[in-house]
């Protein structure tokens, strides 16, 4: 990249003009024409401002990319050589201070945010859990799973049906649902051990659909499309209802007026803790031999076999851990909605979770967290454009695959080093 540095202003101007024209096409109808009763007002001033901002911005970017620094940056982006960036072993990130900050902010959220925002964030965190679960299967172990929603459904229905039939509450079902989902993961994982890539994707897709169809059609047990109601969590036995038939409720015990936001605050705090626990466990696992084995399996399965890696164990563990995380997310989803029915677990959900993993960057924890929030919180904020949601996903996917095929946050991992050798 040693070409003469000199900014070609003509090129920048053309870029700016094109961008300005695109902005006109895009913003003209959306911003420039404002409905007013049966008529409409035109706001050309606003549109002109926006176009000017876009054109000037494009001019600046175009000029910058022609400077030496810009060329280097563009080269770095264009040259996204495949694979994982490896940091030296024992590398300590300088960003560690961010973690306590995020925890503190996260714990403050329920007390400052409105009930609506809180519910949106809860939904975001549920998708973070789902993303983290699928990330183990797809991102780390490289097993394409299109039926992840099946485990989500098992967790959600586990809570609802466990409460209805066995009287088990949120706290007992949380671990049981995780175990149930893990068992389902093993049941799915075992027969598909010999499959790779496309074939695996098809089988897992079928699995997700089977779960949904069973939930829809086994009406005597699951109540079919009518759904089942799910219980709320309890705070050391205290319920979050307005009135309880058995014993005191939360607001009576603390002598405060009833507010329906309390239950969301409580769900949020528990969910927040669980997300951090999963993040921590995942962080440790990646550094353990099993994490290495997952990555090795993703890179080259034949090499793994020739090294005598027990690929049955490795694949199953990835499936089971991913599934149990999905099950946890399902329990939270059920308790948050207070109701589950099969239409929440369609293939679109699987695709959404996969989109989170792919957009976030396969295997990248931070990326998955960011992508999960983007893909769940943004649609909530842009409710007016609800019909275009899928279209926007599609565009986002295409754009990402062109410019950032490795996801929002490229996977970096700390290299692993040998333990101190025991010399005998």
């Amino acid at each position: 990249m040693s070409q003469a540095v000199g900014i070609n202003f003509k090129k920048s101007s053309i870029d700016a003009l094109i961008a300005g024209f695109m902005a006109l096409v895009l913003f003209g109808p959306i911003v420039g024409v404002v409905l007013d009763g049966y008529g409409f007002n035109t706001e050309f001033g606003k549109v002109a401002w926006m176009i000017a901002a876009v054109a000037i911005g494009r001019f600046a970017v175009s000029s910058f990319l022609q400077t030496e620094k810009g060329i280097a940056m563009a080269f770095r982006y264009a040259n996204n050589n495949d694979g994982v960036e490896v940091l030296p072993p024992g590398h300590k990130s300088k960003m560690v201070w961010v973690i306590p900050l995020v925890i503190v902010i996260g714990l403050l959220v329920p007390f400052i945010a409105s009930k609506y925002i809180l519910t949106v964030i809860i939904l975001g965190l549920i998708y973070v859990l789902l993303g983290l679960g699928l990330n183990i299967v797809v991102g780390l172990a490289g097993l394409l799973d299109l039926g992840f929603v099946g485990f989500y459904a098992i967790g959600a229905y586990g809570l609802a049906l466990g409460y209805e039939n066995l009287g088990l509450g949120f706290w007992s079902m949380l671990p049981i649902a995780a175990i149930m989902a893990a068992v389902a993961g093993a049941i799915l994982g075992f027969p598909v051990l010999r499959m790779h890539g496309d074939y695996l994707a098809i089988v897992t897709l079928g699995f997700g659909e089977i779960i949904r169809l069973v939930l829809t059609n086994w009406a005597s047990f699951t109540h079919g499309p009518n759904g089942v109601s799910a219980p709320l969590p309890t705070f050391f036995g205290l319920e979050f209802k307005r009135r309880s038939r058995d014993g005191e409720t939360f607001h009576e015990f603390f002598n405060i007026p009833y507010d329906s936001a309390y239950k969301y605050m409580f769900i949020y705090i528990v969910l927040f803790a669980v997300v951090w626990a999963v993040l921590f466990i995942k962080h440790r696992l990646v550094k353990m031999p099993i994490g290495r084995a997952w990555e090795a399996l993703r890179e080259d399965e034949i090499a793994c076999r020739s090294l005598g890696l027990n690929h049955v164990l490795v694949k199953l563990s990835a499936f089971m851990l991913g599934a149990s995380t999905g099950g946890l997310a399902g329990v939270f989803f059920a308790t948050y909605q207070g109701f589950v029915n099969p239409s929440s677990f369609t293939f679109f959900e699987s695709a959404l979770i996969l989109a989170i993993v792919v957009l976030g960057g396969m295997g990248s924890t931070l990326g998955v967290v960011i992508a999960a929030f983007c893909l769940t919180v943004l649609p909530e904020m842009l409710r007016e454009f609800a019909e275009y949601r899928v279209l926007m996903f599609g565009i986002l996917m295409v754009v990402m695959m062109i410019w950032k095929p490795r996801g929002i946050v490229r996977v970096t991992r700390t290299g692993f080093a040998a333990r101190k050798g025991v010399v005998k």
Partner: protein, 237 residues
């Protein structure tokens, strides 16, 4: 000398096709044994069948007095057999050091640091590149890494599948020199090769495989001067 590994009348089928037909061969402790043959003769099948992929349909594979033909790949690998697979098969996104550590899977990491130093002694090029991503290395370096990785599990018997595949002649020479060095440490090597010239010069004994059968056997020198072998594999001069 004691026999380390022995194939007794081994048959292998891929569906209706028979890939190995009653193959018998032995590898003694401390020897270099080579198996040469043309494309599709069944050499790689023979090597992979040691790891149970594919399973043999009849016969026995005896390793240190035990029939391992029905054992799992990880059982075989953790009992002193290591393989450098065909086409190198290194982990492209891992660093050299991490690739070597992957080689310790069968025995655990207790000796990892010590063995890694030993490998860097054998392959100085790998020391230079220890933190580099494996995919960025040349073919010869990748082959060295594949051999070193196999050696990290402290094998009794090293199985090599075409270490010269796709390498420049001068690099092939280097690789065979390294194999000689490895053998001089007392390692038993079973080498599957198409490059008959180099393989037979290195080996104590050799087997020639044609269409899934062992056609000939003898010491390396005998086979090297054998007119039939020269005709078929050494370009006839």
């Amino acid at each position: 000398m004691t026999t380390l590994m022995e194939f007794k009348n081994v048959d292998v089928h891929y569906g209706p096709i028979q890939a190995l037909k009653g193959v018998s061969l032995t590898v003694e402790e401390g020897e270099i044994v080579t198996l040469i043959g043309a494309n599709g003769a069944g050499k790689s099948t023979l090597l992979m069948s040691i790891f149970g992929q594919p399973r043999i349909s009849s016969g026995e594979i005896i390793y240190r007095g035990e029939d391992i033909s029905q054992k799992s790949a990880h059982y075989v690998a953790s009992h002193g057999l290591a393989q450098s697979p065909e086409g190198r098969r290194i982990f492209p996104s891992m660093s050299v050091e991490e690739n070597l550590l992957m080689g310790t899977i069968p025995i655990g990491m207790d000796h990892a640091e010590e063995d890694m130093q030993h490998m860097f002694g054998l392959f100085p090029r790998l020391l230079e590149r220890r933190n580099q991503r494996a995919s960025t290395m040349s073919g010869g370096e990748q082959q060295m890494l594949a051999i070193a990785r196999a050696l990290m599990s402290r094998p009794k018997l090293l199985l090599l599948d075409e270490p010269s595949l796709g390498l420049a002649p001068i690099i092939v020479k280097q690789i065979f020199q390294i194999l000689k060095d490895v053998a001089s440490t007392g390692m038993t090597i079973f080498l599957v090769e198409q490059n008959a010239n180099h393989a037979l010069k290195l080996a104590n004994r050799g087997y020639v495989m044609v269409n899934g059968e062992i056609r000939m056997t003898g010491t390396g020198e005998e086979l090297l001067v054998n007119p039939e072998v020269r005709e078929a594999y050494l370009g006839g001069h």
